[in-house]
């Protein structure tokens, strides 16, 4: 077993992956155009499902931010729009009721989160619940 060689290969793979990631960020989107963000948003990934209530419905999940070292600030996301970007609940929208650093709770207004799964990705956007764009 060649540990130093393995470490070098892993390191090279990580660096290559990081550079590929950076290159896609630099050139993608309609981003020959550079504009200010229309709204504040974070991307995240589900890391665990919340406890179901008495009816078996889920209204919370544990999460980590993507491309960020920091956790969410407590209740920073309250009232924000949450859209699931993958899995069975793809394109479904929820309203954030509150959050801790690594947990997000949604309101019942858009129904339970049933069907979400660990590793599903989502975006939370600072659009108030009464926004015209809110679905």
């Amino acid at each position: 077993m060649n540990f130093p060689g393995t470490i070098r290969r892993v390191r090279r793979s990580l660096v290559a992956g990081f550079l590929f990631f950076c290159s896609t960020l630099a050139l993608a989107g309609h981003d020959n155009i550079e504009v200010d963000p229309a709204l504040k948003r974070y991307a995240g990934q589900i890391t665990g499902l919340g406890e179901p209530d008495a009816k078996g419905d889920i209204y919370s999940f544990r999460a980590k931010r993507i491309r960020a070292d920091m956790e969410f600030a407590a209740d920073e996301l309250r009232g924000w729009r949450l859209t699931i970007l993958a899995g069975k609940r793809f394109a479904n929208v929820f309203e954030v009721r509150g959050n801790t650093g690594d947990e997000i709770i949604v309101t019942p207004a858009k129904g339970p989160l049933n069907g979400i799964a660990v590793k599903d990705v989502f975006v939370v956007e600072n659009i108030p619940a009464d926004s015209a764009a809110m679905r």
């Binding site: 290159s23 896609t24 960020l25 050139l27 993608a28 989107g29 309609h30 981003d31 020959n32 155009i33 550079e34 504009v35 200010d36 963000p37 229309a38 709204l39 948003r41 991307a43 993507i66 729009r81 859209t83 970007l85 993958a86 793809f90 394109a91 479904n92 929208v93 990705v121 975006v123 956007e125 659009i127 926004s131 015209a132 764009a133 679905r135």
Partner: protein
């Protein structure tokens, strides 16, 4: 009773027609959703098999596009004006294509004016009563950007 049933059915038909979009209308609805900051609305027009080619970069899945580039496309849509300049549509059955060019104007975050043409190829697939987008390919006539994007690949 019959009248009430007829009215009810007419209402359902109208609602169904409002939902059923032509391929061109689907493309326009996608751009409208971006402008409206309607993430779910934009996603709902995309097929789960979506692949996006955008200025030399590939988003191989709808999740990758939604996570990495849809937000930026939304920002651009909000900050700029897109005027449809030309459109051709074709295909048959459940597979269709829509080719569009847009005059894109506005200002970048540093105040630099934007005045360019964006070229768009969209392939759509019928899914029930709807067409959903399975492929986007965007490029631009902006020579400065093309030079930046392709400079590394060209011999000096």
């Amino acid at each position: 009773m019959r009248l009430a049933l007829a009215v009810l059915l007419a209402g359902y038909a109208a609602a169904a027609l409002a939902q059923a979009r032509t391929p061109s209308e689907t493309v326009d609805a996608f751009h409208a959703a971006l402008r409206a900051e309607d993430t779910a609305g934009a996603l709902s027009l995309l097929d789960r098999g979506l692949v996006v080619y955008e200025f030399g970069v590939v988003d191989p899945t709808v999740e990758a596009y939604g996570l990495r580039h849809l937000p930026f496309d939304m920002d651009v849509a909000v900050a700029t004006q897109w005027k449809l300049e030309s459109r051709r549509a074709g295909g048959e059955g459940g597979e269709r294509w829509v080719l569009s060019t847009y005059k894109v104007t506005g200002k970048q975050s540093d105040g630099t004016p934007i005045d360019q043409t964006t070229l768009e190829t969209v392939i759509l697939r019928r899914s029930g009563e709807q067409f959903r987008i399975v492929h986007f390919h965007w490029s631009t006539n902006d020579p400065a950007y093309q030079a930046r994007a392709q400079g590394a690949r060209l011999p000096r």
